[in-house]
Amino acid sequence: MSVLQVNDLAKYFGGVKAVDGVSFDVQEGEVFTIIGPNGAGKSTIFNLISRFYDVTTGSIQFYDQELTRLRADQIAPLGIGRTFQNIELFDHSTVLQNLLVGRHAKRRSTFIENVLFTPRVRNEEREHRAAVEDIIEFLDLHAYRDKMIAGLPYGVRKICEIGRALACGPKLLMLDEPASGLSVEETQDVAFWIEDMQKDMGLTILMVEHDMSLVNQVSDRVLAMDEGKPIALGTPAEVQSDPKVVAAYLGVDGEAVE
């Protein structure tokens, strides 16, 4: 069953065709990775799914829901969590608070109940807290629970962001370059977590990544893009050996390689 179906998606910024006719579908429970050189339009696809950008043409379906008709803040409640390429955490809050905000989509109380702090709100807070503790446990963030984000090392912040995306209880998790800026060991941790999230939590993962070792290790299928267009789709091995992909990375014409 397909979780996410992207059909003939295009996004033009003025004359620049950032994404130009991309179609793919992500199956339930798979790790689907988009690769491509800088400026290939990978992050733009993420921002289109998140509804930060309006699509020029095309459709994005999440299960039966057409996403292009929704606002950005209506995406997370459907069960889509995401991270950002350049970490976008709430710097002046603790790790715990960051993860708790991530539970926003699961809130049930109104702001008036919040002001009165009714027993219902108290119970809800306990539930949020319990859910967040599970994520802290899973990502091994105990040591940082009450630390401010601003003072944490880059790698920890990167993990925190994954934690925050998990907090909304997503069915689809979108990771924008989860390994960028991480050491080899940290990248290995990320690989294990991705496998755990896929196998134990049953999450579907859509990822943009440059680190080919990570891509090969975790991905079920890979989509390669160049200049806004899809150029190859298949298993990591198939895509990597595709001459057009090699050409795109080396920056020469596909025909010259053939």
Partner: protein, 359 residues
């Protein structure tokens, strides 16, 4: 250093983290209740003004300190609350109803203002609210029939369940009333901040883009923040009306808006404590200045208070952007960790790359 061994989640959820903290606040409140027995009427009057400043300051703190939306015209909402209270009181509405109604009126005005305001960011919001504050002065004069315009209006004394409460005849009662309202507002504010709405506010302040990504309806929550902020400030305005007894548009000049802003910055942006620290500074520094000035000269220096406030504000912005609350936290940590505290523990984090133009 006190170490909290956390045994239940409730430790983070409840109002006071431990008995010690509860004790400290209980002592503070008891001390505040006892004040009328210890101080003369003049000082009680000063304390009342501190409480009203604190309430109005908390109003602005919700918006500017916690949601990151600047308002340079908040005195307008003070005016909304004050004039509504005068009108309702003149119609004989009981105080327990008129006070929340006045706040609600200011809150609704605020929420309406928010509709265009939430589309603006940064300096545009600052300028728009500044202009709104300036216009308010003129609007009060134009709405002469309701507001008394330049001549001003009297407010009827409060009648609370048959008890007459008036600033000059029964200052202790009025003090307790203000104290009660302040505690209620503070409690509501703390509740807000320890639940999902408050977290959403802070999220919007720190990164609108991730706020949206985790499902926060930024426009809605900014409107809620405006509404709550103006509601609280309106409550402060209603109390102010009774405190002044008689007032005209000059009680809500743009200078008052700036003073409110000064209050929350000096006190410490983004902390409820800050509103109280700021209110104490705003309330007592003028007295202090007068005492010091009279050591040198008995002739008044016009604008001295504002000049000193402004200088204080410049120094705070340069050396302690977290305000008095920040200093307090640092001092406390320094003593708790003694002798292990290091200077760079509180180094300020700068974000050169975040240009607001791209937002």
């Amino acid at each position: 250093m006190r170490i909290h061994f956390k045994t239940t989640y409730d430790q983070d959820i409840r109002l006071f983290i431990d008995r010690w903290t509860f004790g400290v606040y209980a002592v503070l409140i008891v001390a505040a209740i006892c004040m009328p027995f210890l101080l003369d009427e003049y000082l009680i009057g000063e304390l009342i003004s501190v409480l009203i400043w604190a309430v109005a300051g908390m109003g602005l703190m919700v918006l500017a300190g916690h949601t990151g939306q600047a308002s340079l015209g908040h005195a307008a909402f003070l005016a909304c609350g004050a004039y509504m209270e005068v009108w309702l009181q003149s119609k004989g509405v009981p105080f327990v109803i008129s006070l929340p109604l006045s706040g609600l009126f200011a809150g609704i005005v605020g929420a309406i203002i928010a509709i265009p305001a939430i589309r603006m960011s940064g300096i545009y919001l600052a300028i728009a609210t500044l202009a709104f504050g300036v216009i308010t002065e003129d609007v009060i004069i134009l709405l002469h029939d309701y507001t008394g315009g330049v001549e001003g209006v009297f407010v009827n004394p409060i009648n609370l369940f048959g008890l007459e409460i008036e600033r000059y005849t029964t200052p202790s009662y009025f003090y307790w009333l203000c104290l009660g309202v302040t505690i209620l507002v503070t409690l509501g504010y703390v509740n807000l901040m320890r639940s999902s709405t408050g977290r959403a506010f802070v999220a919007i302040r720190d990164s609108e883009i991730s706020a949206r990504a985790i499902g926060i309806n930024v426009a809605l929550y900014k409107t809620i923040s405006f509404g709550i902020s103006c509601f609280i400030t309106g409550i402060g305005g209603a109390l102010l009306a009774h405190f002044l007894g008689f007032f005209n548009y000059e009680a809500f000049l743009i200078l008052i808006s700036i003073q409110l802003l000064l209050l929350i910055v000096i006190g410490g942006m983004g902390s409820i404590h800050g509103a109280f620290f700021g209110a104490i500074v705003i309330g007592f520094v003028p007295q202090l200045v007068t005492i010091i000035r009279e050591m040198f000269t008995y002739s008044a220096i016009p604008g001295l208070d504002t000049g000193i406030f402004a200088t204080l504000l410049v120094l705070i912005m340069l050396f302690e952007p977290q305000g008095i609350y920040g200093m307090w936290v640092k001092t406390r940590v320094w003593f708790e960790l003694f002798p292990l505290a290091r200077k760079d523990m509180f180094r300020r984090h700068r974000s050169y790359l975040k240009t607001e133009r791209m937002k």
